[in-house]
């Protein structure tokens, strides 16, 4: 009866409908949309505080987004745990440095992949804060509320992403 929990993959439609229903409950119970990227700004400020002290908290950006553990930070922590649980239940968990699509184009070097991932991380972290949200906050939660800011952002995420991916894999790779 619980076999579906040990399946490696579910239909994307089942997963999408599940996330949609989950969003009903986050609005109803927590009065918040599912979103992730603000947490990385808060974490970044908290880590900076370890090195540079309390003056970090006075930065205008961290006045706007206070350096506290909030609902969304717990949500992001939960995503790590939920994904781990799902992967362990289905036997899909594994330590992996280099994804296969990357390996077939650029080889199996963990260092190269990690450096490019770091660079990509810097760009997406910067862009997410610039746009005021990410694939979950704008791409799912914002578009489902029919927010103009989110529809523009989501379309631009994919325009930038599709062009860049083609550049990386069709021209360089």
């Amino acid at each position: 009866m619980m076999e579906f929990l040990t399946q490696v993959r579910w239909s994307p439609y089942a997963v999408g409908v599940g996330i949609g229903i989950l969003s009903w409950f986050t609005f109803l119970i927590s009065k918040r949309p599912i979103a992730c990227s603000t947490t990385f700004a808060r974490l970044s400020g908290m880590i900076e505080m370890l090195f540079r002290g309390d003056k970090v908290e006075r930065k205008p950006y961290y006045q706007k987004f206070k350096l506290i553990v909030d609902w969304q930070m717990m949500l992001v922590l939960g995503v790590v745990i939920g994904s781990l649980l799902s992967a362990l239940l289905s036997g899909d968990f594994r330590w992996q440095w280099v994804p296969s699509t990357w390996e077939s184009a650029f080889g199996a070097s963990p260092l190269l992949r990690a450096v490019i991932a770091l660079l990509g991380g810097v760009i997406i972290g910067f862009g997410a804060r610039w746009a005021g949200g990410c694939t979950s906050g704008h791409g799912i939660s914002g578009t489902l509320q029919l927010a103009v800011s989110s529809w523009i952002s989501a379309v631009c995420f994919f325009i930038g992403g599709i062009l860049t991916a083609h550049l990386i894999f069709r021209l360089i790779g």
Partner: protein, 189 residues
């Protein structure tokens, strides 16, 4: 503004934090089952060879939208749309897109990728996102009065933009999403 105050007040509330954790566990579980924690699936979407991510997102938007607007009509929930501007959402969105393709994860799915054991996400990507977000925080005072204000439209929604009743937008958007998904399946994508 009001939501900001609420957030500050609620931030220390244990039950709020626990709900966040519980919702996150379910969200992460679903993302992993959908394959969205995987670089290959995300890059496949951006290379237009694997439409899993689009199918997942559009069915989430379709389901979420109908439910949220129904509950709003009943007075059960309030919307919480993000404010925006052309300078924020177009430029920020395009920068995000470039990073999306270079990293192959996004801020939500990277948390799932970490849980899945993917070390390029844990060691490279996570550190990068933290640095990128910190860089933005450092530049924010200069950006906030300039480019981020260009073409400001506030927390506008599509029904407000078109000045029509909400369901006159919800129903056509739902139909369009449904037709797009149907077409993707018919095309064998």
């Amino acid at each position: 503004m009001q939501t900001k105050n609420l957030e500050t007040k609620r931030s220390g509330d244990r039950s709020t934090l626990l709900w966040g954790l519980a919702f996150g566990i379910l969200f992460g579980f679903l993302l992993q089952k959908g394959g969205a924690t995987k670089y290959d699936v995300i890059i496949g979407q951006l290379l237009l060879t694997d439409f899993t991510i689009l199918k997942l997102m559009l069915s989430a938007v379709l389901t979420g939208m109908i439910g949220i607007y129904a509950m709003k009509s009943l007075g059960w929930v309030q919307l919480n749309p993000k404010s925006g501007s052309a300078g924020m959402n177009i430029i920020g969105g395009l920068i995000f897109g470039v990073g999306f393709a270079v990293l192959g994860y996004c801020p939500g799915t990277i948390a799932g990728a970490i849980g899945n054991g993917y070390l390029d996400a844990t060691v490279g990507g996570l550190a990068g996102i933290l640095i990128g977000a910190g860089l933005f925080a450092a530049l924010y005072p200069r950006l906030s009065q300039g480019i981020l204000k260009k073409g400001d439209f506030g927390d506008l929604t599509l029904p407000q933009l078109f000045k029509i009743k909400e369901w006159l937008v919800v129903v056509p958007v739902a139909v369009l999403i449904f037709l797009l998904l149907y077409w993707l399946e018919q095309a064998g994508l």
